[in-house]
């Protein structure tokens, strides 16, 4: 073989799965290839188009979208596309577009199948891709065996393994025992009026409440059942199911949809294999009594985060999991405060704002929280209790590792510890008579999520926020003006504009110039359209349906948010691995050329949608 073809062989050897082929086979490959060049933005394949080659990217990058335009994958040097076509008789399945000028090597279909037939390892790689890997796309956690992530990506509904075993409440204990024996189940749902749920009995109940108490088997099963068991919704994540079970120390969890039982999940469904650190960390926190001990658990968050990211978590997964831990610490501190101070004199709800409210926390987070009290609250009579409660929890969170909010947006500040009616006045004022500066400060309060207490206290307030903000154009215009203060670090020629001088010389601030602008955009579109979600991903998905933003714009923004967030998390993980404190300041040189291009694209998406926002909502006078 001549030297130049050897270079192609060398290239193939460096890339999976070609590296799995014997040397003499790789060396025979270049002669069968054709090179083709596509400039950036070329649609190389579209669904059902004839595709008689496997495309191997030599330089450049491509994007795979399904026929509906959903982004499935981004590919770069050494990766292959046209794989599905190989398994569909030469008909392409997806849209492939080049993102950069790209040189591709084309391997004929026949040669592909010859290789796949002869070398199982080669076939396995592509069979997986053709089968479902691409279909499940970016959110798919590629062939990574991390249980934690499976729990994050799997819905409860997917875990229901078998038909529900249940018995009517008129049955006796003996009937129930026999049925459990026949069906080989460890628990049984007790129903009434058809599939309405009445209670649950488990193996443990038969032991503790029947045998140990020498109870007659002829007694009705209702005598030993647990009434109104804790349940979960089929759309919840498996992760939440496990969390619920750990917190409540139960091993069986009925799945209820619209009050009807649709299945049952057990710890065995979830905990088949290894330990699930986040769940155990949350479980551990809920049993600790001292903030100093909790701090030790929370100190492992960076470690947890780096595991998650290395295992291929999306930033939404990671944010959800990390936030779960601060929620757990908050709830535990509130329980301890109530133990210490006695039960609350009037109902309250503890609210998280900012990144905790949105479930988007990272390795570094401060606290944003507030207290909404029942309107029966009287300052003279109850003020001291809630002041003590808020101080206990805020100070505790600070000790645990969630440092005080520099803007004092915390329940320990009197202003943010008020009865519901005062909060309603606050929001009325912010929405009806907006002031730019005040708005900037209080944007964290538009991302509220109840953490603990009487959650219905928030409901009325929430309704007011959602309905008022939706109708007020002036308020929206002020929000837009605020959002425009966060500039994207892109210059006129699409070059990065970096921070100059100081501690963070030549870096990009991924938080303030990347994440925050998208969070702002999502918040505005959500508020303007009466969407009540607070998580940025959820908000963007929800606003797709509204005219204030194009569907494509919302999709692009979702992609941009995921890319910038994950880049930021990877950056933080890298710092943690190197023993540095994590921050948001990224040196663009630490990225590959491909990542840099994507980052620029993500920034231009923000820039475009910021301009579109001004058009849609008008420019404020700020």
């Amino acid at each position: 073989m001549s030297i130049e073809l050897e270079e192609i062989a060398e290239f193939l050897k460096q890339h999976h799965p070609f590296d799995l082929l014997p040397d003499d086979v790789i060396e025979s490959l270049p002669k069968r290839l054709t090179a083709r060049y596509f400039r950036a933005g070329t649609k190389v394949l579209s669904p059902e188009q004839q595709c008689l080659h496997l495309y191997i990217i030599r330089t450049g990058g491509t994007e795979t979208r399904d026929p509906n335009g959903q982004l499935l994958a981004r590919l770069s040097e050494g990766e292959c596309f046209g794989v599905r076509a190989m398994f569909r008789k030469g008909r392409a399945a997806n849209n492939i577009t080049t993102l950069e000028d790209s040189l591709c090597y084309l391997l004929p279909e026949k040669d592909f199948h010859d290789l796949a037939g002869k070398y199982p390892q080669f076939n396995y790689f592509f069979a997986q891709m053709g089968g479902d890997r691409l279909r499940r796309g970016m959110q798919m956690i590629e062939s990574r065996d991390d249980d934690q992530l499976k729990l994050m990506s799997v819905k409860v509904a997917d875990l229901i393994a078998r038909d529900l075993v249940s018995i009517d409440r008129s049955a006796t204990i003996l009937d129930a025992g026999k049925l459990m024996c026949d069906e080989r189940v460890s628990c049984l749902l007790i129903t009434q009026n058809g599939d309405e749920i009445a209670g649950i009995i488990t193996d443990r109940d038969l032991r503790n409440r029947v045998i140990a108490q020498a109870r007659s088997f002829d007694e009705p099963v209702t005598a030993i059942m647990t009434d109104k068991p804790i349940s979960i919704h089929p759309d919840d994540y498996a992760f939440d199911a496990l969390l619920t079970m750990t917190r409540n120390n139960i091993r069986h969890l009925p799945v209820l949809k619209d009050g009807k039982a649709v299945g049952m999940i057990t710890t065995n469904n979830l905990l088949a294999r290894q330990s699930l650190s986040a769940v155990y960390m949350a479980g551990k926190i809920s049993k600790l009594n001292d903030p100093a001990d909790m701090a030790k658990v929370i100190a492992q968050v960076p470690e947890l985060l780096s595991h998650l990211i290395e295992a291929g978590a999306t930033s939404q997964n990671a944010g959800h999991i990390v936030t779960t831990l601060s929620d757990a610490a908050t709830v535990r501190l509130l329980q301890l405060a109530e133990e210490k101070l006695g039960p609350p004199p009037v109902p309250y709800v503890w609210m998280a704002g900012g990144s905790q409210g949105r479930q988007e926390q990272t390795a570094i987070s401060d606290q944003d929280n507030c207290l909404i009290l029942d309107d029966a609250y009287v300052e003279e009579a109850h003020g001291a209790y809630f002041k003590a409660l808020a101080e206990f929890v805020c100070d505790g969170l600070n000790d645990v590792g969630y440092v005080f909010c520099p803007g004092d947006m915390m329940a320990k500040t009197t202003e943010w510890r008020q009865p519901a009616k005062v909060w309603q006045n606050y929001f009325n004022k912010w929405i009806e008579q907006p002031e730019p500066k005040a708005l900037m400060l209080c944007s964290v309060w538009f991302d509220l999520r109840p953490i603990h207490g009487t959650k219905s206290l928030f409901d009325d307030l929430h309704r007011i926020i959602v309905s008022r903000a939706k109708d007020n154009r002036i308020f929206q215009a002020y929000l837009v003006g605020n959002a425009m203060t966060h500039h994207v670090p892109l210059g006129f020629f699409k070059n990065f504009v970096m921070i100059r001088g100081g501690e963070h010389d030549s870096t990009l601030d991924l938080k303030h110039n990347g994440v925050v602008p998208i969070v702002d955009l999502a918040r505005i579109h959500a508020l303007a359209n009466g969407v009540d979600e607070v998580n940025t991903f959820d908000r963007l998905r929800a606003v797709k349906a509204f005219p204030s933003i194009s569907t494509q714009g919302a999709s692009d923004l979702l992609d941009a948010f995921e890319f910038i967030s994950i880049t930021r998390l990877k950056h933080q993980v890298r710092q943690i691995r190197q023993g540095h404190a994590p921050d948001n300041f990224l040196h663009p040189e630490s990225l590959s050329a491909f990542e840099r291009t994507h980052l620029k694209d993500a920034f231009s998406v923000i820039k475009n949608l910021q301009s579109a926002l001004e058009t849609a909502f008008g420019k404020s006078g700020t």
Binding site: I3, E4, T34, A35, Y37, E100, D101, S102
Partner: protein
């Protein structure tokens, strides 16, 4: 385009030289030249590079040839060829330093006539691609005259000329070396290549050509004459 080149590219000239051609060149001329009004997509190309003992086609000789065929704007690696040519004179030290081909390497190689007999059938009906084509055309033309009694006429794309046109169109001053094969390739995001021999350069030029065409012709409808030199 100069008048002289206009003449040598004309059908009239082709008819004239064709009558004088013998052997493999005659067979070459029997196949009609590529039609300049056909789309590039439907045209076949041969990217060619050669190494010589010097730069003067009248005095110096070809020592190696490398080529690859392009069909439907795809470089077909199965068509790669690299052949050494035995020169009539001994190799000089200065030329050996450049191409690292020694007398011992070419002792059993075909002479230029035999080499052209392999190459000419590959060129028939196709368009030549070369980076700085005057060298290739000059040496092949002289060799054809010596071996087959007539000069060589072939429609030609010069990737250097296309690169120059691109730079002119951008209207920016360009650095020295900007037109070198490797630098032009880099400007189109093509992988770096290590120049080894005539074939590696031919392959490098073929990739550059694909890139240059795709910039001009995203829809695949451009006529051949738009890229001829």
């Amino acid at each position: 385009m100069g008048l002289r080149q206009k003449i040598t590219d004309s059908q009239f000239y082709r008819d004239l030289v064709q009558r004088r051609a013998t052997g493999a060149l005659r067979t070459y001329y029997d196949v009609p030249a590529a039609d300049p009004t056909r789309p590039i997509m439907d045209t076949e190309f041969i990217a060619l590079d050669l190494e010589t003992t010097g730069l003067d086609p009248k005095r110096d000789e070809i020592v190696s040839l490398g080529w690859v065929i392009i069909r439907q704007l795809g470089v077909d690696f199965s068509s790669c060829e690299h052949i050494l040519v035995r020169p009539t004179k001994e190799l000089t030290e200065s030329s050996v330093v450049v191409h690292r081909i020694f007398d011992s390497d070419v002792a059993n190689a075909p002479n230029i006539k035999a080499a052209l007999e392999l190459l000419l059938p590959q060129m028939a009906g196709r368009v030549l691609i070369s980076h700085h084509a005057p060298i290739e055309l000059g040496f092949l033309g002289h060799a054809c005259k010596r071996c087959f009694g007539a000069p060589l006429q072939i429609p030609t794309v010069d990737t250097l000329v296309l690169g120059l046109r691109d730079l002119h169109r951008q209207g920016q001053p360009f650095k020295s070396g900007a037109l070198k094969l490797d630098n032009l390739r880099r400007s189109h995001n093509l992988p770096p290549f290590r120049p080894h021999n005539a074939l590696s350069d031919a392959i490098a030029a073929s990739g550059l050509f694909l890139a240059q065409v795709s910039k001009r012709d995203p829809k695949g409808v451009l006529e051949l004459r738009r890229v001829l030199r």
